[in-house]
Point group: C2
Chain length 501, copies 2
């Protein structure tokens, strides 16, 4: 039994990134068709404000037009053509190729995202301004957490004053911290080019990133309602030029920057994402993209965002289902607890939102680990706890295996007329590592054993893992020699002295 | 806007008990058919051990037989006939009729259940032995919690030594504590008759309970694998005689008392519940029952129960789907956190298990509030926090309303060419109380406001609600005069002096 517990004889883990979701269908087909039709109407009749020249050129060439308000209109048939021809499946490479993730086809992955402006410090229980070094720490912690499949920078490096430093040092910290598929974002298009040069250097030569892009750009390309964010749109052009996969991210907030009705906020987010998908595909047919429908929700009493609500949960799940129904690779946001600390509120807000998004089949469930305070706060300890939650959710995605063996008719009969219980049966031992997973920080002791172990709550136990990991895990997928070259070229401002140890 | 926030002009709440689930379907029809076929095979070929004479009589009369091992065999066609003819819909009355709950048809309700042997005391953070008075307190707290639709006794009254006192005082405490539909359980059949006499007295006369039964009996009728619990079976006969609705509860523990494979544990639980449904319906055709498939799970490393796992979540959701597919009123168990306190682990374990059970369409999701330590521990504060969670989950059950109004095409267009945001739009104000719900204890402040308010976590805020409620809320649906009669007749051992205030 010891060998089984250690997993020594097990080849395939019970859960992994890319299992197929889609068993949860919050909307009917008719409802989804009406959302799509309304979005297509809006794109043709109202269009998008603030387009960059590159977008205007390709869309008007395809039959669109600019109006007297400076809005770019997208004919329905052009958008429908793009939906048909856009890439349906693509590979989000890991720096370590064995960790690559396949986008499309209801395959579910869990990713972090950002961009918290505060970090909850466990020992002081105070909010601190995060640094670029904190991004590196967060990335290497995520690098060890089995159920986080993708790492996107969780926090804003508030020690980086210039936008170039912020963009470059963030990209560097993420790349150095994890060999999983990863992501970042950019303020200026020239930083995209510079980052790709850095990635090429890390991968061993010019053009390497284009061949095997291990990072995806989160492009929050819209200032809702239906207005392009000009500089981000410029970055998207640079991303198309460099072969940088893009998460086309619309994050309207229902009741503030999108309609308060859930259906209306879906319509607007879909219209916005389709405008971006159309522009990108007209610039470069088949460019790898995610439709990033992240419909956020307001607490209508205050107008403030509420990331942990039931409205948020069903809305992002509906977005994932809608995109799957349209056949487009999807990303949504879930796990954005309103709670400021890892408490019971945070736990239930996260599990509800992430579970529904995952079961609806989102290719990437962003924000699924580490986030608090409706994205204002990040916590290492929360990320460790969330990793357990993601594992449990992924176990439910796997579902129930049904076969003559698992139906267990003979095992039941034999047990009734034999031992009377199933504790030591061959079948029980054989499924220990194939049907079941075990939490890293979740406690399953009985109450008295738990008390004897110090009555620690989840965040205290998680902190022990955080301390242990951050003092020992220094990824080396980018060699020290290569790092020296990168540092000599890009004025790297993050101390990662420990990698030299 | 103040009037809207107060809900003064709103008639139908955004969420309520009995909304339709079923959007989550973890199993295929073929998988469910195989589970059903295997269960029917086992009932015919292996049968149930330990049947009471009443069960033997009606089942052998219908074509079944006893074998040389004392096992009662159920022919497939008899069980299939019962599945066809059993009651598909019935009303679980509230003591207050306006709170009644309709069983059947994928209508989802949230209930507490038990039976914890410890109570977590918030102020000392220690585990205490619960009393019958604690049941009364727990019931009247649940009486005020909007998203708990049914209250079943959560804890074992450890101050009651005799089984009669335990059964009667528990039933009394539940009845006095809440006017919602409620539930309890019994050790001896004569206590069933005595409790019904007490209920009749509370309702105003003999035979009243039979007309409008407001309590359901949790009958854990099986000692798995496939052996009747003799005394509970005797209680079921008494429940049939008194018109007491029954939750036919099978709680095998995968890897210990049921197969370690998830499919096998479903097979066994279904076989067991069908045997009970058959016996009850042969005794009294159409008797109101819930099929109580509560497949529990072991941590196979230790053999201990783990109520908060992903395996548990998908298993109970699959049970709910299976029972809905068979058309039978269903109950499952979810919310059984492994964590011993209301922390992030408890939160995510609860939300995952409850959300999936609810979306699979369980008529009653038992154990959905207040429980910790895999059912060993109950906490008032946890129940208050869980109430928020249940509200949010119920909001996701409601789904996305799609209509010309909610699709909001004109609202989006008008906003783009008007205010530029949706904050003050008529639509936003109008959906504030119809599309959105608000937590009672969940915090949505920004980090600095939350700090200024004392940096309280969910359990500290919940404790304030617990203290306030328990010092003020004393239900009076049973009048003091009637209570005096009950006390004079049944030797009531619970002090509830405050109802006299």
């Amino acid at each position: 039994m010891a060998a089984r517990v250690s997993g020594a004889d097990v080849l395939t883990p019970p859960v992994y990134g890319g299992m197929k979701g889609g068993a949860y269908k919050p909307m009917t087909e008719d409802q989804m068709q009406r959302v799509l039709d309304t979005a297509l109407d809006l794109l043709e009749e109202v269009g998008m404000g603030g387009p960059v020249p590159e977008f205007i050129e390709v869309v008007t060439d395809a039959g669109g037009w600019m109006d007297e308000h400076g809005r770019l209109h997208f004919p329905r048939k052009v958008v429908e053509q793009i939906i048909d021809t856009a890439t349906k499946e693509w590979v989000w490479h890991g720096f370590d190729e064995s960790l690559s993730a396949e986008m499309g086809g209801e395959k579910v992955h869990f990713s972090t995202a950002g961009a918290a402006v505060l970090r909850l410090d466990h020992e002081s229980q105070e909010f601190k301004f995060p640094s670029a070094r904190d991004i590196y720490d967060s990335a290497r912690l995520a690098d060890t957490l089995e159920h986080i499949h993708i790492y996107l920078r969780t926090i804003v490096a508030r020690d980086m004053v210039e936008s170039r430093d912020l963009d470059l040092m963030t990209a560097y910290a993420v790349m150095m911290g994890t060999s999983k598929p990863s992501g970042t974002s950019f303020f200026r298009p020239e930083h995209v080019h510079e980052a790709v040069a850095m990635f090429d250097m890390a991968m061993g030569g010019e053009g390497e990133f284009r061949k095997r892009p291990f990072m995806t750009a989160n492009a929050t390309f819209v200032v809702p309602p239906m207005q392009f964010a000009y500089e981000t749109a410029e970055c998207m052009v640079a991303q198309v030029e460099t072969g940088f996969p893009i998460n086309l991210l619309s994050a309207g907030q229902a009741g503030a920057t999108s309609p308060a009705t859930l259906a209306g906020s879906l319509v607007q987010a879909l219209a916005e994402c389709l405008s971006a998908l159309t522009c990108v595909n007209l610039l470069n047919a088949g460019h790898p993209c995610l439709m990033g429908m992240w419909p956020f929700v307001s607490d209508l009493r205050t107008g403030a965002m509420t990331g942990g609500s039931g409205e948020e949960a069903v809305l992002n799940a509906a977005a994932a289902q809608l995109l799957n129904w349209m056949g487009l690779p999807s990303s949504v946001a879930a796990g954005m607890a309103d709670s400021k600390i890892p408490d019971a509120q945070a736990g239930h807000e996260k599990a509800l939102t992430v579970a529904l998004a995952a079961h609806a089949g989102a290719n990437v469930v962003y924000e699924s680990a580490g986030m608090l305070g409706s994205l204002l706060v990040y916590s290492h300890e929360m990320m460790v706890i969330d990793n357990d939650m993601l594992g449990a959710i992924n176990r439910t995605i796997r579902g129930v295996d049904v076969s003559d063996d698992t139906l267990a008719k003979e095992v039941i009969r034999d047990t009734i007329f034999g031992a009377g219980h199933f504790l030591g049966s061959d079948q029980t031992l054989s499924v220990m590592q194939s049907e079941y997973i075990y939490p890293a920080v979740g406690d399953r002791q009985n109450p008295s054993d738990w008390q004897e172990a110090g009555s620690k709550d989840a965040k205290d136990r998680a902190h022990e893992i955080v301390r242990q990991t951050l003092s020992t895990h220094f990824p080396t997928h980018v060699s020290h020699e290569t790092d020296d070259k990168i540092r000599a070229t890009f004025d790297i401002k993050i101390p990662i002295e420990h990698t030299r140890a």
